[in-house]
Symmetry: C2
Subunit: 366 residues, 2 copies
């Protein structure tokens, strides 16, 4: 599905709900519908908004800093520049386009901005409709082209991992490794890491959110690397845990239990099963192994333009998986003061099974 | 001023306005008031909120991933973990603390979240008060300790620039240089760059927002580097434009005009003058030099925990500068298809003048 088909789908929805236009402010949604790749420095410093009228071509509103990029990246849409922010431009534009009802993204509009927007629309006799997740829902199921890009993103991420993995020795610091990974990503064409690279040695690997520090890699202890990159807009996300030196019996036991849980979940994934049931499949194995209370997070999450998106593979998520969804499968066991093991791969849901996108097998089946 | 004094100032404000508590969600504000340094992966993926009651000690609400960090970094505040998000925890906590009126940060709360918060507070008979920029206003004027950290941030940024500047040659790509800068920053103790490093060669330097690409440095043409880092939470921001090879007469003329505008603005800055008048001082020089319409942005902006904060040195900003404010002074001239020159230093406003924080003089007075 290309950009214009996506726009048409939104326009059809608008006409069905009898709304004249929608304002898209969420950066991934903006990119999904237009190809315009700029990110927002911050939600308060937007690099543009996409106004999609129900019955005419979309308009990308941005400022002079992004004009050339917007022209290069978009097709079939008008580009309008605002010298003083989006709202003053909309004030003129909405009446010009005869828009009398406007939807906006409630989940990516600040309360303060919505307040001003409301006041403005009241004066212009425009009805305002908060929406949430309209585009996010479309983004959940990936088309062939998207899956192909995600596959390349995963494979590049693995290449980078393997290259740096070979060079790791105990004198290295976590931050040395993280910088080597991130620099290699970008040299090989990634837009950047999809999140701050996690490199955690020894007991630090028990903190599920440790960022790399100036700590030296400890011999014979767990080393966890959780990394991802953005390639042509699409994210990858992978975790490997291994030992530099020789692994203890306890390490091996926990690692094998996590891997067993991961493989069982992967076997379970197919169109038609619920997200919760996949989480349960992995969780049951860890609970039965005696480590249930040390697996404190959800099994996985969707990945696409955003590194965390729907569907979450979580205990309470009754959502049914569909073919074309891309999710991580990442069980983990974390023991305070000892360390943690998490193993994460990405899969594409298919009608009767799933495809594991990862090829790397470093320290998986040990 | 330390954290507890800042908290007391907020509490005094609350009592004056007869509001029982305020919920701080903006990450820089959260850090300013507590020392807790986690950033939000995204506004939709918060790493915590600070609840400041008017008459008792503050409470940091976060989740298990950040528990240890929060304990290490904060003092004199309670830490409460939410297993299922901030709102369910508040629902229990607010009545327990007898809070009947609650302020929140309208400029860092999503419309969708505010809606749920409103509904919840209505049920609990709690009145809800949107606020904006209360903490941002406190953050504008820096104390001595903050200025000292910013000074170190600026000096480290310059060291990194000078180190890499020596190594630049025409075969280099923009991205090579950007990566070398960012890696060096982090190896030398920076938390990371304060924004995506800009390296733009030749005509690309005319795009005020060019990010580094895989383009080779062009000999005898403008090369613009705009870079900053975060050190102990505080940002630096500096731009240098120079020529690898020999500069044309036109380049020299434009560069000297930009520098003249910068020096005049710096001379103008002191407590008591308006932001607009400083912008005008620089702008007049560029206008009189015949390049007025090629200086399309504001002269500068405040810098602190955020790389862009108040006050903006902009044409229409009538705000009066105060001693202790830290701002950039960054005039620029951009000629499409030729290139641009921007020169940026940071200064601290003092009672009778300003202190230029930068020591680096690379390609300034040529």
């Amino acid at each position: 599905m290309n950009y214009s088909e996506r726009i048409k789908k939104i326009q059809k929805k608008l006409r069905r709900k009898k709304i004249d236009a929608i304002l898209i402010t969420q950066p991934h949604n903006r990119r999904y519908l237009s190809g315009y790749s700029a990110s927002d420095h911050d939600i308060g410093e937007s690099s543009g908004a996409l106004l999609i009228p129900a019955r005419r071509k979309p308009i990308l509103l941005t400022d002079f800093r992004f004009q050339i990029l917007a022209q290069q990246e978009t097709k079939g849409m008008e580009i309008l520049l605002y010298p003083r922010g989006i709202l003053p431009l909309l004030k003129k534009l909405l009446p010009d386009l005869d828009i009398t009802s406007l939807a906006f993204e409630s989940h990516y509009t600040l309360h303060s901005v919505a307040k001003t927007l409301k006041r403005m629309c009241r004066k212009l006799s425009i009805s305002l409709h908060p929406t949430s997740d309209i585009v996010e829902k479309m983004r959940q199921v990936k088309d062939k082209k998207e899956i192909e890009i995600i596959r390349r993103s995963v494979l590049l991420n693995e290449k980078v991992f393997k290259k740096i993995h070979k060079t790791i020795y105990p004198g290295h610091t976590e931050i040395d490794i993280a910088l080597a990974l991130e620099t290699t990503m970008r040299r090989r064409g990634a837009e950047g890491p999809s999140f701050e690279t996690i490199v955690a040695t020894g007991a630090r690997s028990a903190l599920p959110h440790a960022v790399a520090g100036s700590v030296k890699i400890i011999k014979n202890k767990a080393l966890m690397i959780d990394m991802g990159l953005i390639l042509d807009g699409y994210c990858s996300d992978m975790t490997r845990t291994f030992v530099v030196g020789s692994a203890s019996k306890k390490y091996l036991k926990i690692h094998r239990l996590v891997r067993k849980a991961q493989l069982a979940a992967i076997k379970k994934i197919r169109a038609g099963v619920s997200a919760a049931s996949v989480d349960k499949t992995a969780r049951d194995i860890i609970v039965n192994g005696g480590y249930g209370k040390h697996f404190g997070h959800a099994l996985g999450h969707g990945v696409g333009l955003a590194v965390h998106e729907s569907p979450r593979l979580a205990m309470r998520n009754r959502k049914i998986l569909k073919a074309g969804m891309v999710v991580t499968v990442e069980p983990g066991i974390y023991l305070p003061d000892w360390g943690g093991v998490r193993l994460e791969n990405m899969v594409v849901v298919r009608e009767n099974d799933c495809e594991v996108l990862n090829r790397d097998t470093t320290w998986l089946d040990i």
